[in-house]
């Protein structure tokens, strides 16, 4: 996979993580749910970090993620991507529900909400404590309203840790017809650049898959219930 050199223009706190604006942009569009790997050569960084799209700039790209503390504005970065399979149905929905099970993952869903609003969709964000600032058009709902919101929606995007899928399935009893609406953006270690290290393995109804290559977005209906 190709690697590109970019310059860090700005680093801004974004909820529990940071937003990083880089220039220039990648030749291929980074879709919500996809990621790119980022690495600062010649520094103490040991492993690449995964960054998610936050928005597009006139001459660059806005990404979000947990950044190494020594990254600075003006620093050169290497980016590799876009990687993985992003959201599909959620990109076309007219009524979209968004939810992150932990606040550190909220930023990864921001671009999805922003693009949905741009195409005139209605967006509901389910959270009990929001850590990022959302556009005013987004309706914020409490977690107690989540299942009702899913029933209203065309599609639902949820960000959660790949270790907590079972917990999520047990605490969210979706009606059978609604499972197909839900796409999960799984938080997993995405480190090896598709060399099959196996740490990001996800069990699906079609066998073990890799979040780095086959995800990190998976359909909830494709994940077995324990």
């Amino acid at each position: 996979m190709k690697t590109f050199s970019v310059l860090i223009r700005e680093i801004i706190p974004f909820g529990q993580v940071h937003r990083i604006d880089v220039t220039p942009t990648l030749p291929t569009v980074l879709r919500p749910g996809q990621y790119c790997l980022a690495f600062a050569p010649g520094t103490a960084q040991i492993l690449p970090v995964s960054l998610y799209p936050c928005g597009e700039l006139p001459d660059g790209l806005s990404l979000c993620g947990k950044l190494p503390t020594f990254w600075q504005e003006g620093m050169n970065l290497l980016l590799q991507g876009p990687s993985g399979q992003g959201f599909t149905d959620c990109l076309k929905a007219r009524k979209l529900v968004i939810h992150a099970t932990v606040s550190t993952l909220e930023s990864r869903l921001y671009a999805l909400a922003a693009q949905a609003l741009q195409r005139g969709a209605d967006v509901a964000w389910v959270t009990d404590q929001l850590s990022i600032e959302l556009p005013p058009q987004v309706e914020v709902l409490k977690s107690a309203d989540f299942l009702e919101a899913v029933a209203w929606s065309d599609a639902c995007a949820v960000a959660l840790s790949f270790n907590h899928i079972t917990d999520f399935q047990q605490t969210h009893p979706f009606k059978p017809g609604e499972l197909s609406k839900v796409e999960l953006l799984l938080d997993a270690p995405l480190i090896c650049g598709n060399t099959h290290c196996g740490v990001c393995s996800v069990e699906t109804s079609k066998g073990w898959k890799l979040a780095c290559k086959d995800g990190p977005v998976f359909r909830l209906e494709d994940l077995p219930r324990e």
């Binding site: 050199s5 480190i191 196996g198 393995s201 073990w208």
Partner: protein, 255 residues
């Protein structure tokens, strides 16, 4: 100072560590033009699922990785990759994990019939009983050079006599094991990172005269460090997690 002569089954003193380049080498890496062998990820006789508690935990100077060595099993892997391996420019070192001598023997005998297999690399757990070590060595001994991969901080020196008896071609000093705590739970796994380099060099210096070539396979994060390991007495170098670091662009960025 030039690199030492390549070990049996290799074309140079440089290669990847098991598990860091997938089952076929990439088009380019920092080992391109330098690699003398290609080491596969761990292969077991029967399929292995990912560990239930798999994960990655970072610490200053490195990270702990626990995967459970998932793989689709020997038969399926050979069916999928043997033809590709036969066309590689460097010899292939399949890295095997076996529960007993029978499994080891079955895999080794099959590999002896394939083209471009330069050597066999078999891993031993740190807590292996001496009887198990001997069972594996007996099973693996055959037509191909045999390398034994051990966590380099384990007491593998207790097995040196057995390694000599079974004419092991080299000892791969690979990732040690350690524990970290996450959410009040102890997580065990393999350790990687540049913080291990000084301890690796100490081991090489202490055992370079043991009569069996040592392969420096942990803690090396640059070509310069690999060269240091060779100067310290290692006969070959395996690069691990530094192969996951992104390297210089392969094409101009879009303006």
């Amino acid at each position: 100072m030039s690199d030492p002569l390549p070990l049996p089954g290799a074309l140079s003193s440089w290669m990847n560590a098991s598990g860091f380049l997938g089952f076929t080498p990439p088009a380019s890496s920092i080992l391109t033009d330098r690699a003398g062998a290609f080491v596969t990820p761990a292969i077991s006789k029967t399929p292995r699922s990912p560990a239930r508690d798999r994960g990655l935990l970072e610490f200053p100077g490195g990270f702990l990785l626990h995967t459970g060595y998932p793989n689709e099993g020997f038969t399926k892997i050979i069916k999928q990759y043997a033809k590709k391996w036969s066309t590689l420019k460097v010899p292939v070192w399949p890295h095997l994990i076996a529960r007993n001598g029978y499994e080891c023997s079955q895999m080794v005998r099959a590999l002896e019939t394939l083209e471009n297999i330069g050597a066999i690399e078999v891993s031993l757990p740190a807590d292996a009983e001496t009887s198990f070590v001997e069972e594996i060595l007996q099973a693996a001994l055959g037509e191909l050079p045999l390398y034994i991969s051990v966590p380099f901080l384990a007491a593998w020196q207790n097995w040196l006599d057995l390694f000599r008896l079974y004419t092991v071609s080299g000892i791969v000093l690979s990732a040690p094991r350690g524990d970290l705590i996450l959410d009040d739970t102890i997580v065990s796994g393999r350790l990687y990172g540049p913080s291990l380099f000084p301890q690796l060099l100490e081991k090489i210096a202490a055992y370079q005269g043991c009569g069996i070539p040592l392969v420096a396979g942990s803690g090396i994060f640059s070509i310069e460090q690999g060269t240091m390991a060779l100067q310290a007495g290692a006969s070959a170098v395996q690069l691990d997690a530094c192969l996951w670091q992104l390297s210089a662009p392969t094409s101009p960025s879009k303006s």
